[in-house]
């Protein structure tokens, strides 16, 4: 059953991912991306990454995509543009070929034998024991504490940057 659901959500993710790049309307693209993220979240859940799955929904679909949509609306890009928004057909074919080549290479390269370091159901058992947050939070605040703190500084920088770059300029700007 879980395998079947896995495939359903995976296909959902891929189809709507393709829809992102095919749609001419930016809003439609954004919403397709949201659905794709939801599918991905479901995949995370089925891989015993519950916390990450929820965070995916909350942060990606719920925050990042909202910002995307805000910007699309703000710039009034909601209408599909008359001017060609994508390259010509020839280019698209070449891009497709490049994509297939890339895919083939990735397949060819990821053939190594993986030696597991933990038993198959280890994570699930840990979650039963401590809850979904603890397995991620533990290392986060112990081994990766420095990275955690640095990331917070990064977020600060991003906030400042976004405010400065996005803020309305003085009227002297050419605009």
């Amino acid at each position: 059953m879980s395998s079947f659901l896995f495939w359903i959500f995976a296909s959902l993710m891929l189809i709507f991912g393709a829809a992102v790049i095919i749609n001419r309307n930016p809003v439609a693209s954004a919403l397709s991306l949201v659905v794709s993220f939801l599918g991905l979240a479901a995949l995370f859940m089925s891989l015993d990454a519950f916390f990450i799955g929820i965070i995916q929904v909350l942060v990606y679909a719920g925050a990042i995509m909202v910002v995307f949509l805000f910007v699309i609306m703000l710039l009034n890009l909601g209408h599909p543009s008359e001017i060609a928004d994508a390259r010509g057909r020839g280019w698209k074919l070449v891009a497709g070929a490049v994509g297939i080549a890339l895919l083939a290479q990735i397949f060819a390269l990821t053939r190594a034998h993986v030696t597991p370091r933990i038993e198959p159901g280890y994570l699930a058992r840990q979650i039963e024991y401590t809850g979904v947050v603890a397995p991620v939070a533990g290392p986060l605040f112990k081994e990766y504490l420095l990275a955690f703190e640095v990331t917070s500084v990064l977020l600060l920088a991003a906030i400042v940057g976004a405010v400065v770059l996005g803020g309305r300029r003085a009227p002297t700007d050419a605009g």
């Binding site: 390259r87 490049v98 080549a101 890339l102 290479q105 990735i106 060819a108 390269l109």
Partner: protein, 726 residues
């Protein structure tokens, strides 16, 4: 500072004045720097009152590059006094030091059998090659040093008077000082490379001084000609050095001397021949002599110092210094003798028909150098050096005397604004009435060069011819073959040539004397009032040289004429050349055959006297006319006057083809046609490959993000592809 004062055992000269020998070239070098600074400073800051300033007399010649001629007011250079002190001053100091070192060597006496070497630093340590910047002091270099500093000092003093009105006064003395410095390096070098530094340096100074009045193109051309012909000879010197290095591995005189016998006879011969090629360039022998007559374009004291007394004798010094090499190769020695003898007679014949007083002396120099080479070629190293010394005396005297004459003629022509040639003998005549001192001294010098007893030239020239004759009777040279001809015959033939050249020498020197000082004066009515003796500062050095030309023969009296201590120079130079001389004479000290000696002396003297008498009888100065009215020469006389057309032959066979090849083939053909068109334009020009590649490359810089993304992804594909394939 000194790596090593002495090789091995303590040298007798270590604690004496000889340890200051490095100051010998340094003093003139200091003079060069100081005088050069004065020259540059004054050229930079020429004010309106300076000679050479445009307002002063309309010529824009602040550095003194133009000949002092017609429209020029006699104004002395701003720094003339200072230069007159520095220029000759350093020479006086150098000469004093040279004398002091000489006396130290005298005191050391017979213990002085090895050279005194001072090494200053390692100049070229490259792999197995170790050349030090080192000076060496031995009897041979001492002789040269005394000649250079002594005669040089006299010529510097003479120049104070001769060049007094020249705008380039400090420049002249700086070049002259530099020349002396380089010449001293040449004779004091302890190895061939150090000597070569001096060799090249004197070539440079020769160029600078010949073209001293460079605004006149002919002078600059003469300087270039001298330098280029010297360079051809330098090629020979270099090849000889390379061969020495390749076969022996050392280039120091001491080292080569020790290992010379290890060389194969073929190798030694070629080394000697290549060295001799260098000598033909520097000392103006056949075939590289044509620059010397042209070099007379320079100031007369320069001709006296460089082209009579010192630089041109560098070749003779080289052979004397390399005596151990030449003694091992009879073939090379014979070649030297033959070329020397041929040059002697060839140049003498040209001198018979020259009208420019300096050209006569120039060809005389070439001829006398031929004698010197005959001497050192025949293994009579002492004789060659002896003739070098006496020749320095009387040739310098002749040149300086002619300088006095030219000075007087110039002054006369200036005063009357006459444009005639002041150096042409046809414009002179009867000057003994106006310039008695100069006349007497020139007469002394003429007797000396002709070889009349008891003047200096008699002893030195006779010694060369005498030794040549003796070698012809028995020596390694006589045993050898030269181009198939037995050596003895070659030597006898050269002896005959030497006698013929001696005859001609007497004739043309007497001719010069007669045309200049005897007979009626052809300078012109008004000019005569201005003809007079040169100032004392010019005549005094002449007197000193005159004395030396008279008594110089006492340096090396032969046994047959016991008028004092005999063979002084023989004994002095024995440690340097004795071994090689013995090698040539089959190890036997030649016994003096007095009757034969007297015969040889008598023959030489008779020839000289005959020449003088013939000249006196045949040449009629009254028949001469001034140059501007003179008829052109005819027949064989024309050939002689035009120097056998050698310059023209060289021009047609060497110069023109070289220029043609350089210009048409190499420049326009290859450089412009091939390289420029295909490579330069083809690659970088407006249609070139670089442009095309650049245009293609510029497509990558579209400024578009999309393009960059494409490039990135395609790059990733390639990288992954590399991994996949592997």
């Amino acid at each position: 500072m000194f790596l090593q004062e002495v090789t091995g055992v303590a040298h007798p000269l270590t604690a004496t004045a000889a340890r200051w020998m490095w100051a010998l070239p340094l003093l003139p070098l200091l003079g060069f720097v100081l005088n050069g600074a004065l020259s540059i400073f004054s050229a930079y800051h020429a004010g309106p009152a300076d000679p050479g300033a445009p307002e002063a007399h309309g010529s824009h010649d602040v550095t003194g590059g133009g000949h002092d001629d017609h429209h020029h007011v006699a104004v002395r250079h701003r720094f003339a006094t200072l230069t007159s002190i520095i220029g000759p001053g350093v020479m006086v100091l150098a000469f004093g030091l040279a004398v002091a070192i000489f006396m130290a060597m005298q005191r050391a006496g017979p213990e002085l059998r090895t050279p005194f070497i001072q090494r200053y630093y390692e100049w070229m340590p490259v792999g197995d090659l170790h050349i030090d910047a080192a000076f060496q002091l031995d009897q041979l270099s001492m002789v040269m040093i005394l000649v250079i500093t002594g005669v040089g000092m006299l010529i510097h003093i003479f120049s104070v008077g001769y060049m007094q009105d020249d705008p380039g006064y400090p420049r002249y003395f700086s070049y002259l000082n530099l020349f002396v410095a380089f010449m001293l390096v040449l004779v004091m070098g302890a190895s061939y490379p150090v000597m070569f530094v001096g060799w090249e340096g004197v070539g440079l100074c020769s160029y600078l001084l010949i073209g001293f009045w460079y605004l006149d193109k002919a002078n600059a051309d003469a300087g270039k000609k001298a330098f280029i012909m010297n360079r051809i000879g330098d090629f020979g010197f270099l090849v000889a050095m390379f061969m020495l290095w390749a076969n022996i591995g050392t280039l120091e005189f001491d080292g080569v001397r020790g290992q010379a016998t290890a060389l194969g006879s073929n190798v030694v011969t070629w080394i000697c021949l290549f060295f001799f090629l260098g000598c033909t360039g520097k000392s103006a022998q056949i075939p590289l002599y044509t620059w010397l007559p042209d070099a007379m374009a320079g100031p007369t004291p320069v001709s006296a110092l460089i082209h009579a007394a010192t630089m041109v004798t560098a070749g003779v010094y080289l052979i004397a210094r390399s005596n151990f090499l030449f003694a091992l190769s009879p073939t090379a020695s014979l070649t030297v003798v033959v070329i020397g003898a041929l040059t002697a007679i060839f140049a003498a014949s040209i001198g018979l028909k020259q009208w420019d007083i300096k050209k006569v002396l120039a060809y005389s120099t070439v001829s006398q150098l031929g004698y010197m080479f005959v001497g050192v070629g025949a293994g009579a190293y002492v004789s060659g050096v002896f003739h070098l010394v006496t020749h320095a005396f009387f040739k310098a005297l002749l040149f300086l005397g002619s300088g006095s004459v030219i000075f007087a003629m110039h002054r006369a022509y200036h005063a009357t604004h006459n444009e005639d040639d002041a150096q042409d003998m046809r414009n002179m005549g009867g000057l003994r009435r106006y310039m008695p001192w100069t006349f007497v001294l020139m007469f002394v010098a003429t007797l000396a060069i002709a070889g009349i007893f008891p003047f200096a030239g008699f002893f030195s020239k006779d010694e060369i011819l005498g030794t040549l004759f003796i070698r012809a009777r028995g020596s390694t040279l006589a045993d050898a073959n030269w181009l198939g001809i037995p050596g003895g015959i070659v030597l006898y033939a050269c002896y005959a040539l030497g006698l013929a050249a001696a005859f001609m020498t007497a004739v043309y020197m007497m001719r010069m004397l007669i045309y200049v000082f005897f007979g009626p004066n052809r300078s012109g009515e008004r000019e005569r009032d201005f003809l007079g003796e040169a100032p004392w500062i010019m005549t005094a050095p002449l007197i000193v040289l005159g004395v030396l030309s008279t008594v110089g023969g006492w340096l090396n009296l032969p046994e047959s004429i016991k008028l004092g201590r005999i063979g002084l120079l023989d004994r002095w130079l024995e440690p340097v050349v004795g071994e090689s001389t013995l090698r040539i004479t089959h190890g036997a000290v030649p016994k003096v055959n007095l009757p034969l000696e007297y015969v040889l002396i008598g023959v030489a003297l008779a020839i000289a006297v005959a020449g003088i008498i013939v000249a006196w009888i045949v040449l009629k100065p009254a028949d001469l006319v001034p140059k501007r009215e003179a008829k052109p020469e005819e027949g064989f006389e024309r050939v002689l006057a035009n120097k056998y057309y050698v310059d023209e032959i060289y021009d047609d066979t060497v110069v023109r083809p070289t220029v043609a090849v350089s210009r048409d083939l190499l420049w326009q053909g290859i450089d412009e046609g091939l390289i420029d068109t295909t490579l330069v334009n083809g690659i970088g020009g407006s249609k070139g490959i670089a442009r095309i590649v650049g245009k293609i490359g510029s497509l990558l810089q579209s400024g578009q993000v999309g393009t960059y993304a494409w490039v990135l992804i395609v790059g990733v594909l390639f990288v992954l592809g590399a991994f996949t394939i592997r």
